[in-house]
């Protein structure tokens, strides 16, 4: 089962992952990743300091079709029984989930790698634009070079 969604409202990952897991009797493993809006406390997280809100924008004609294509390639590449891929758009507050990817497979390695693969592509190659609100206003977030390096791991 492939379930790919763009959501404009806050979601509870567990409420989606539970039924998704139930829908795949006979699976060997489920791996789930949930990304949340980082609060940025402490001096180590200098870049994140003071984030009050985050906004993700997308481009309707491209964003969802690209996620569908990504899901299809993950299902094929990792021989998945099912894949859940949910991404928020719009304004979010600290602690709210942004993204949830869950993969069901007969064996653990496929499930774990599929989630890793999907997240690297969602970070660096899906049509989303992120900006953060700090005390002095909104700031667009540039992709980091680490994101591209992570993505490059999957090209053959």
């Amino acid at each position: 089962m492939k379930d790919v969604r763009l959501l404009t409202e806050m979601f509870i990952p567990g409420a989606l992952v539970g039924p998704f897991t139930q829908a795949h009797p006979g699976l060997g493993g489920v791996c789930t990743f949930v990304g949340e809006v980082r609060g940025g406390e402490g001096q180590d997280a200098k870049d994140d300091w003071g984030v009050e809100a985050l906004e993700l924008s997308h481009y309707e004609p491209l964003t969802l079709p690209t996620m569908e294509t990504l899901a299809d390639s993950a299902i094929e590449r990792f021989d998945l029984m099912g894949l859940l891929m949910v991404h928020r758009v719009g304004k979010m507050r600290v602690g709210e989930p942004i993204v949830c990817v869950s993969a069901a497979a007969r064996h653990r390695r496929g499930a774990i790698d599929a989630v890793d693969f999907c997240m690297d592509h969602l970070k660096a190659a899906a049509w989303f634009w992120k900006r953060e609100k700090r005390a002095d206003g909104w700031h667009w977030i540039e992709p980091r070079s680490d994101d591209y390096a992570d993505l490059a791991r999957w090209s053959e």
Partner: protein, 80 residues
């Protein structure tokens, strides 16, 4: 009829609007003139893409937009 140009991400702030309409047809040279100097400079960077009619162009300089097309200007993404 016209071509609709959509500004995405930081380009939206730079343009000061979400979208604009220009007369068709629209090619690469006319697009650069239509969007103003700052955005034209961005478009010439390799990491900025262009989509026409919901398809990302492999070579943006070959843009050929006609009546009713939507041309989206796509700066580098940051999702997840």
């Amino acid at each position: 009829m016209a071509v609709k140009i959509i500004f995405l991400g930081p380009l939206r702030d730079m343009a000061g609007m979400d979208s604009t309409q220009v007369e068709a047809p629209l090619d690469w040279a006319r697009l650069l003139k239509a969007v103003g100097e700052d955005i034209a400079a961005q478009l010439q960077e390799e990491r900025v893409n262009i989509a026409c009619g919901g398809r990302v162009l492999s070579d943006k300089t070959e843009l050929q937009a006609s009546d009713g097309d939507e041309v989206a200007l796509l700066p580098p993404v940051s999702g997840g």
